[in-house]
Amino acid sequence: MYEHDVLVVGGGGAGLRAAIAAHEAGADVAIVSKLHPVRSHTGAAEGGINAALQAGDSWEDHAYDTMKGSDYLADAPAVETFAQTSPEEVIQLEHWGMPFSREEDGTVSQRPFGGLSFPRTTYAGAETGHHLLHTLYEQVVKRGIEVYQEWFVTRLAVTDEDDPAERTAHGIVAIDTKTGEVAGFKARNGVILATGGAGQAYDHTTNAVANTGDGISMAYRAGVPIEDMEMIQFHPTTLPSTGVLITEGVRGEGGRLFNRHGERFMFEYGYATNDGELASRDVVSRAELTEVNEGRGIEDEYVYLDMRHLGEERILDRLENIVHLAEDFEGVNALEQPMPVKPGQHYMMGGIETNENGETCIDGLYAAGECACVSLHGANRLGGNALPDLFVFGSRAGRHAAGEDLGEPMIQVGPDEDAERADVEWPVEPGEVEPTVSEPATDGGSADADAVVDDAVEAEREHIEDLLAREDGVKHMEIRKKVQQAMTQWVNVFREEEGIEKALEEIREARERYQDVYVADKSRTYNTDLQHTLETLAVLDVAESIAMGALARTEFRGAHWRAEHQERKDDEWIKHTMLSWNDGEPEMWYRPVLLKGKDTEYEPKERHY
């Protein structure tokens, strides 16, 4: 058994930042990641990092923009902590050598981004995520922090009290991809989940193949509620054939959107008469699809994003990477032609419920980054707010797990007996096909930490043996692909009750077929067939929770649009959708949104851009 004070699961931006913070707070910390850290999908982020750095800007304005962008589904204490801390974290990154784009006077450049009242997006060309990821990894190397790379974490080692809020996390179980060894890792202080998003629940996504939502599924099954899962961001500018992202920075620098008639539809058709192309992402994505649906798209599929008028010099200075991406993945010379773009799944606003310190309701279990929901982004994340989320809350989780006192959190976590329960008729039973009513008890939770980890390792070994022993069955990819297609068809930008129900039925069928899933590769060496099969279960958990949330929320808020419910219903719906796994029989309930921060009350207003 491996043993450390703090274990960080995932080696992307949030995981690396958490590990550095825990290390600096004096903890023996290790990162366990299914990829080598520099392969993480933080590296694909392009646009930038929001922080109120300049005179004339303020963290209060950043907080206000974020609350408005969230369509009043974000929790104000999280938003304020975020906006206050982001500037010092950006300076910290600069001190670690991040190659930010610069002004003539040598200071860090900032550019306009969607939904922001001030140009506060710092960036490094159109490759900000790449530079952020490498800068953080370099600092991990500098500190000699241990990295278990290509170790795939499959299970949490958590005690099994009836009430999830009384459980304790003692470690994790992981498979060494190279050798197939299944091993236990004990965490003396805490486990931090930083496993990123779950774009693989969709088939048109900017996300990597590795973004399967493993951490969300593990925390959910261990008893942590997952929050606002229906809130999925569809980025308005992705390349139609691959889903490769074209940064919002193109529009930030002045890029324009056109329909087939050459009209700047954001203005012409009144989608956003003030901000036009720089309206919030949810607004632009809906506008594009409306154009296509009304016959003004190109090839009934996409619209044009044009940046030619910016001139070659400015494009190559600030957006060079976009020219390469358009060329390599769409065959378009963006210096001479407009780029075809359409909305694609990009980001999950929801995730594992945490407070401002990254804590979940399970003692010793933390989450940070895209897999977590603190909730900072609410119903719609602003461009440039994801990367600072990684290091603001990654850092806090790392410090808290290492034992630092960060003060009393304002955000409550965990099951709440008095909470309002959801009253929804599910078209099919969600959750486990055969719920395991009682898991083998580890002495009623009083077992020592080693025993909890050992039991989890044993359970995982048996599970894998069982999977590998099967002689035939259903291939995981057949299951995964059908669910991805169903989600893209029915739980996309535009959502209707009937479609969401169909998606839930597909997911149910997929869960049933998964009972007979079959791993053809019997080798222990680098068995990606086994890994993808295990990941597929996480994809099913995530897809189901998104669809359930989408069906339950009978209003239109932020990224969540419903055909039958065309308005934001503040009287009824300023509340978070919470989902508890309940040993395989999911239960939905609600927690009120905190619109009041430390001193400020954020009054819901209509969103105009």
Partner: protein, 281 residues
């Protein structure tokens, strides 16, 4: 003596680096022109290297042939994924982002190092032969052991480490020119294509190799670090298995999927080393 790449349009002397990159672009254009007239078949023929130390019939390395349906814009990675999902889920290769930034899928395709996700099938002769990166131990099928590459990267102390820092609430300043100077070097995605293509690295296991030297370049020329650190960095790259091993064959520059002028960076560091040594005479 100026060692900078001429950047004005009127300049007539292109650096060797610029010429290489131009030649690379010209060859690509030629391939594309050649493939344009071809009548495309319905399937692509792939010959894929297979090996698994544990599975009886794969212990002896072999090539398997797959036929996958062709589509417009299909990349080598698309073809591999389709072959795996359609015919053989045991087919093993690394991949993640699909957009040439994670650096997972450097492969040996038709005899040269390329990123699978960035290589169009239409640009390749068929059958398309796909092998693991040469000069690396094969773990299974197309997966190689990258540890030695990572060791070499670590050996150049690949992290920003300035002599002094301003207070915690103030940023360091860096001129746009200096940022431009290190720009291409910061684009490395650690794919290992350069190292695999390098004859010197193949013969000298201790040679730092192009990627690691480029990483050293990235920090050596970053004006924020300071003179003391710069001196220490020079000692690392000047060592016996450092920059002097490079014989300017340009193979690393040829295969770099991010078009980093690797050979030029190595030469520039050699010049820095000479300058520094002359100082003490």
């Amino acid at each position: 003596m100026s060692t900078e790449t001429p950047d004005t349009e009127t300049s007539e002397v292109a650096s060797p680096q610029t010429r290489r990159l131009k030649a690379k672009a010209a060859r690509k254009a030629e391939r594309e022109a050649a493939s344009e007239g071809e009548i495309e078949g319905e399937t692509v023929e792939l010959k894929i290297f297979r090996y698994d130390p544990e599975i009886a019939d794969k212990q002896e390395p072999r090539f398997d042939t797959f036929y996958v349906p062709r589509f417009e814009g299909m990349t080598v990675l698309d073809a591999l994924m389709d072959a795996r999902d359609r015919y053989d889920t045991t087919l093993t290769f690394r991949h993640s982002c699909r957009q040439a930034v994670c650096g997972s899928d450097a492969l040996f395709v038709n005899g040269s190092q390329r990123l699978g996700c960035k290589t169009q099938i239409a640009d390749l002769q068929e059958p398309v032969q796909i092998e693991p990166l040469p000069h690396r131990p094969v773990v299974k099928d197309l997966v190689v052991d990258m540890e030695h590459f990572y060791d070499q990267m670590r050996s150049v102390e690949p992290f920003f480490d300035p002599d002094d820092l301003p207070p915690a609430d103030q940023q360091q300043h860096q001129t746009p020119e200096n940022r431009e100077k290190v720009k291409t070097s910061t684009r490395c995605i650690w794919c290992g294509a350069c190292m695999s293509s390098c004859n010197i690295a193949a013969g000298d296991n201790q040679y730092l190799g192009p990627a690691a030297i480029n990483k050293a370049y990235r920090f050596y020329f970053d004006e924020r670090e300071g003179e003391q650190r710069q001196k220490e960095r020079l000692e690392i790259i000047e060592q016996e298995h450092g920059v002097w091993r490079c014989q300017t064959q340009f193979s690393c520059t040829e295969v770099c999927p991010k078009d980093i002028p690797l050979t030029e960076h190595i030469q520039e560091l050699k010049r820095e080393a000479v300058k520094n040594n002359l100082k003490f005479w």
